[in-house]
Symmetry: D3
Subunit: 222 residues, 6 copies
């Protein structure tokens, strides 16, 4: 049975646990989960933690490459692990950022990203340019001001309101699809739909990522 490894590059197993709860493999597929070994960053909120989390995961991950048919890097960024793993295997490797962009393009119109804190506004614009070669179809990154931890610690009302406000700005800027710009936003689609209506697509990169990998594997890419 083909299987996909979902890689959480930070060292917080609680994030991996959430992913396990959200994802449901299709018949004939299996998903497995990887958490960054202890000693790496607990959350990724800078280029520095992108780099150190990648370097922290690589020695443990490389020996696992033979065991799986596809790999999803579950950090919403142009995470360096995606590029590193492709140097060590020809099997499909995808990041959740790239996956969310691909599903957005498949749905059509312009896409935006709703994310946590301001630093991602610059980094994700760069990531879009690196992935698509231009920002033509990109309606921008809109930060809520809530960090990853605050997303879970703040009251649900505050979280919903902030996410809704960011989504509204995205739509006013022309977005017809909104990507959840943080692995920790899984399950927060409703806050967006309540704010902007259900004609606006909400794309969860984690879900999009495993689905695209399943499709690539079923198409024969190995």
């Amino acid at each position: 049975m083909p299987s996909i490894l979902v890689v959480n590059p930070n060292s917080s197993s609680s994030v991996s646990d959430t992913l396990k709860e959200v994802l449901r493999p299709p018949a004939e597929f299996d998903y497995d989960y990887f958490t960054g070994p202890l000693g790496g960053p607990l959350q990724i909120d800078s280029v520095t933690t992108e780099i150190t989390s990648a370097a922290n995961c690589l020695p443990t991950l490389i020996p696992l490459l033979d065991n799986y048919d596809g790999f999803l890097v579950a950090c919403y960024s142009d995470h360096p692990l995606v590029h590193c793993l492709k140097e060590h295997t020809t099997k499909p490797v995808l990041g959740i950022f790239q996956a969310s962009v691909l599903h957005s393009l498949a749905l059509g119109g312009k896409f935006a990203i709703v994310t946590t804190v301001k630093i991602w506004e610059v980094l994700l614009s760069e990531a879009v340019r690196a992935f698509l070669g231009s920002e033509t179809l990109f309606a921008g990154t809109f930060s809520t001001g809530l960090g990853v931890l605050e997303l879970h610690d703040a009251s649900p009302e505050v979280v919903s309101q902030r996410i809704g406000e960011a989504a509204l700005k995205a739509v006013q800027n022309g977005a017809t699809a909104i990507c959840l710009g943080c692995a920790g936003m899984a399950g927060m689609e409703e806050a967006i739909s309540k704010a902007v209506g259900d004609k606006i697509r909400v794309v969860d990169g984690v879900v999009a990522g495993v689905e695209i990998l399943v499709g690539l594997i079923r198409s024969g890419h190995k």
Copy 2:
């Protein structure tokens, strides 16, 4: 059970028959097939036939939109039916051109298109710009000089040689993935791999298309 309608917008049922043979739905999914009603063009090789095939299909297709969960337009072009159907349903609609580009992006590197005749070189460059907003990741369209019918009537050696030559030019131009630029090229992956080696990805937009639609439907887009 969710089902996908594969739309062959020309009026040649033999093309639809070939698609039926190539595609295998995953468990819990069903594929159905549609051929352009008699009176439309038998093959699509110009903007004019793109337009007339779309207009020919629309009256019959629109009443079917309620019966399916996703729609694949199986003409390798920026076919107008994709845009028209999106005006009549919110369900996922995808063309095989766009699908091949999405799978190429997911696999990484630069992609090229190997196609039939010269007219597509301009039309597909425009299609890439329309879909991605730039041609940055596009290594070009390379025509074999063989029309759709010749692909099937010419000797297999000639076909393989022409496709191989076009693929080689694509790789020399920087392509790491090559899209089969014609629905009628399904099954011709080997000719490419023989010419350029198996490190170069070959992407069949028909296969990519149904897989992406399955993923979108499984992700909840309706």
Copy 3:
């Protein structure tokens, strides 16, 4: 005497009548008018009606190509008839959208489009990219919220006010030229000039279109 066919691709002869009133051929030139045959859409307000109007006109239009020296497609969009007709004649074929962009570029600065309803904001941005290869010189599309019919049925005060507001936004966004983004806006230049002053150019694509065709024909293109 060289003559130009002005093609109204929808099936409303009243639109063609308006064009006849507005246009004045120069000495030694003749203009003739074509209306979409009955059965096609009465107005064009979607990709679907672009496609069906094109397919509706083609069988009647193609036999007329020998009789004229140039063709103007009088629908403010990247109308497919422009591309189709070019496949059937080498004589100059132009759309009023493209014509308005060319006159704007000739006048210099940045151009914007004032149009009817919101759907055109996305479609006309795509049209600009398709025509010029980038949106660098484009200050955007600004919709009035009034459909084609409302433009004629609403009170002149309301129409003027809405057009003026849209034009003002265009100028605040950097436009130095404003294109009338609908064949039905012919004659509404004054509403714009009243709102934004007469330093801002107003470009009517219908007028621009016949003038450019006359110039191409006089330059020997056939």
Copy 4:
């Protein structure tokens, strides 16, 4: 009767004489000719001579602005006079480079420029980017190696051959229209058509320029 001033910014009256012979105003229009005052450069083949020719013409030209309805700057470059004159009059001002690009866009496809010497390859690429915002529709500048004077002094066979070779490279690079990239190439259309066939458009910016100005004036721009 509306009239257009054709401005030859260099100080060689022979160039102006050639223009006079080539151009034929339409009924109800008049063309007049201006040559750069003595003391300016005799030919323009560098940024330096662009600048000095512009500065040389300005004092004499500005007092003439009231006497004409449109102005054509007849140097095939992004000549600074075009921009300067626009600061002194709101009447239409156009350069022959820009005019040739506009007629090429009106005709469709990709355009290239066949020109004299190598320096123009860089300058005209910059000019295209400055005018259109991108080089997407531009198939490049192809120099013949013959300077302006050599165009007239060399044997017609040599001139035809060099122009033909440059045109052929342009077509191989995707051009469907070729602009004569030098005011002194007026009348050399045939050399190109002989080399690349008559399906390729040849655009003379001098002719295109007066025709576009006539159209702008007839459209009411003043």
Copy 5:
């Protein structure tokens, strides 16, 4: 001892005097100053004065090219002298506009320009595109509405306030570095820092320009 000529292309020696006061050559380098000869424009605020100032300076400047090792054109624009001088010497020639962009890129993030009057908003956008090939890293030009002379004649409070307001808009538009968009703004860094905080870089193109030239000369470019 290598020496750099700082060229003030306008004919106001007071501007050159200010530059002399601001600049301090490093050990082993010498700076010299050039003012446009009498008869040229006293300030540069249009394409016309760019052109006439360049033409006015050239005859006097060219004989000086042998005496210096690098040249800084101290007008904040895509001043034509930069391009002209490069045609007469292989030694490094730089404009203060280009220098400010280079230091901004070296510092990272997005840069904006705070300038005098509105005309520069269009001209400097064009200048960025001409210099970098795109406006991707450019957060825009923000004019204060104060002309060069007003910068010095208005009360310091008004000047500070206007510059501060423009800088604030630049930062809200994403700028992390702000270029002083006028040679006459030398010394006004503080007004910006007071308005937007000292995390935002302020780049003075005059200072940047001589430093880059020193670096190019020390690197062996001659």
Copy 6:
């Protein structure tokens, strides 16, 4: 006395020794050198080694940030250390790739990169897009096929020939400046000049990098 730390992110002290020999600080400046701690990669030839070298250096480098006034990352790539260090200090941080691009832009024309092995062709194109936002001014990366070690082990004739061939292709592709695309190419300017003549600029990013940092520090950036 201000000082600059030259960071060699790989763990080969011989590379650092070469840099020490090549660089000469200007009066009133001091340069110091850092080599990646043992355990990191000995050479950087992939995204993986970029990442692991950065992670390897960071813990040792961060405590040193207070001791210096500027930092040069001496690996010819879009090395992640540049971005990481900027998150830990506001002092100027530059990579030698970016430095070579900045000096190329200052010199004018189009630049190309001559480098070691094929993998860099894709990575450096991406790096240019990331740094400038487009590849408009970039004439491409040309690999010699010689790895870093071969550059020093192969016979000087072979090295010169390969570098010369790559440089020639760069010039034929429009380059007027050629960047040495590897820290280990310091001192190989002559091989290029011999192949392409001394009108083509050769830019050494290591030299350019310290010079630009000196200029930024002298301009007050800290």
